[in-house]
């Protein structure tokens, strides 16, 4: 018991790791601030493509989504970060993470937006068009708000997944939270910094998970 406390909950080591881990947290949040809006936008475009009238556009969008849902994000990230330099394209870790996660997130957001768009009855768009709204106006003011509301819990769960996903950036030595904690662990041979990082992830994400559960109950009930 003593040993577990010493190896996992060593407050002295946690205190030493805290400044570095907090700086890592700032980077984690920065990645999220870049990747979540980009992924949502890319996902929305792919979703619109996947329900478009033009068949080629539909196939292209669904092909994109399925391809990037099939490739593990870490494989994509390492391919971009370690593979592309062989072709003379050397990206910074931040750029590699942004591009890799943009492609991965877009695919997941696209599936959610697609379900949302399909959940809005066709009559809504037809009624909006008949009042004189243009196609873009109909989408922005009538279809999209209802679509987003219908899939809000799924969108939020995906945000949680993206925040968790940023931990992969540590593999390409981008100094986000897990990277910082792992660094202190390797210096101290003690797992407490990792427990500290885990605690911060929990504080960050647990409220969101509870919120999602409440949304889901409200929609089901």
């Amino acid at each position: 018991m003593e040993q577990i406390a010493q190896q996992f909950f060593n407050l002295e080591i946690m205190a030493k790791a805290l400044p570095l881990v907090l700086r890592g947290l700032a980077m984690t949040l920065l990645i999220c601030a870049v990747v979540i809006p980009l992924g949502a936008l890319g996902g929305l475009l792919a979703a619109l493509g996947s329900v478009a009238r033009v068949r080629a556009l539909r196939w292209l969008s669904i092909g994109f989504v399925d391809l990037f849902r099939a490739i593990p994000p870490l494989v994509l990230l390492i391919f971009i970060y370690a593979g592309l330099p062989f072709a003379g394209l050397r990206l910074s870790p931040f750029a590699a993470v942004s591009i890799g996660f943009f492609l991965n997130n877009s695919a997941y957001f696209a599936e959610i937006f697609r379900a949302g768009l399909l959940s809005v009855p066709r009559g809504q768009a037809e009624a909006a068009r008949s009042t004189g709204l243009g196609p873009a106006q109909t989408l922005i003011w009538v279809t999209l708000p209802q679509a987003v509301r219908n899939v809000l819990p799924d969108l939020l769960s995906n945000v949680v997944e993206v925040v968790k996903l940023t931990s992969l950036a540590s593999v390409v030595s981008l100094g986000e939270m897990l990277h910082a904690a792992g660094l202190v662990r390797s210096l101290t041979y003690n797992a407490s910094p990792l427990v500290l990082a885990a605690g911060i992830y929990l504080v960050l994400l647990w409220p969101l998970i509870r919120l999602i559960a409440r949304f889901e109950r409200r929609i089901a009930g």
Binding site: Q7, A70, L74, V75, T166, R185
Partner: protein, 224 residues
């Protein structure tokens, strides 16, 4: 174009490392099957236990599910892999990856199956109980089959997402597809092994992704 092929699809490099990557495919497939079987079974069992609504047990299950859903799997993998040896528990990287991903999948599966159990109409419980079936009998023979049917699409999606995470094993040295490919890439100083790995993942997972699309339309709730 020739430069592109030499860099990403060099025939000599591909031929040299294809056997390693193929062995990696074996490791990835075995891990994936083990994780899906045990993770889904454990999640199903936990959801059933929760149905008895014994307060301390339910609270423990909810905490387990919340914590494992909130923590990034890579954090858990590193924590277990580097933490346990310090207190005298030695596990292979394969075992660590298997254990962590099984628990993560179990947490998600528990929540998904539980949602299915609560969504099963109350009348089903009442009707089954009134025929003389016990609580456990009702749960296993009446409610669970309906609940599981309802949640097959989200369960499949989650299982696919978590089996893809076997690639994280590369970080702790599991010789899976990505692990073999990154080793080969650094030996050969060529990106072709990574290309081969990406192709292997697409061949493995694209059929599953397409199948999950089909399942979604097949098991769509009426009216949706």
């Amino acid at each position: 174009m020739a430069g592109f092929v030499d860099t990403f699809l060099d025939a000599a490099v591909l031929a040299r490392y294809a056997p390693d990557i193929l062995r990696g495919v074996g490791v990835t497939v075995i891990l994936s099957v083990l994780i899906v079987l045990s993770g889904v079974a454990l999640g199903l069992a936990l959801a059933c236990v929760r149905a008895y609504r014994i307060a301390p047990l339910s609270v423990a299950i909810v905490i387990f599910a919340d914590v494992l859903r909130a923590l990034p799997p890579l954090v858990l993998i590193l924590l277990v892999f580097f933490g346990l040896p310090n207190i005298g528990v030695m596990l292979s990287s394969f075992t660590v990856l298997y254990l962590v991903l099984t628990l993560v999948l179990a947490a998600f599966a528990e929540e998904i199956v539980w949602a299915g159990i609560t969504a099963t109409p109350k009348g089903q419980w009442e009707a089954a109980r009134s025929t003389g079936l016990s609580f456990s009998g009702t749960l296993v023979y009446v409610v669970l089959p309906q609940a599981v049917r309802m949640v097959i699409p989200p369960l499949t999606n989650r299982a696919i997402a978590i089996t893809k995470m076997t690639a994280l094993g590369m970080v702790i040295g599991v010789p899976d597809i990505l692990g073999q490919a990154t080793t080969a890439q650094s030996f050969s100083a060529n990106a072709s092994p990574l290309t081969l790995a990406a192709i292997a993942y697409v061949l493995l997972f694209l059929p599953l992704v397409i199948a999950s699309r089909w399942l979604e339309s097949r098991f769509a709730p009426p009216g949706a």
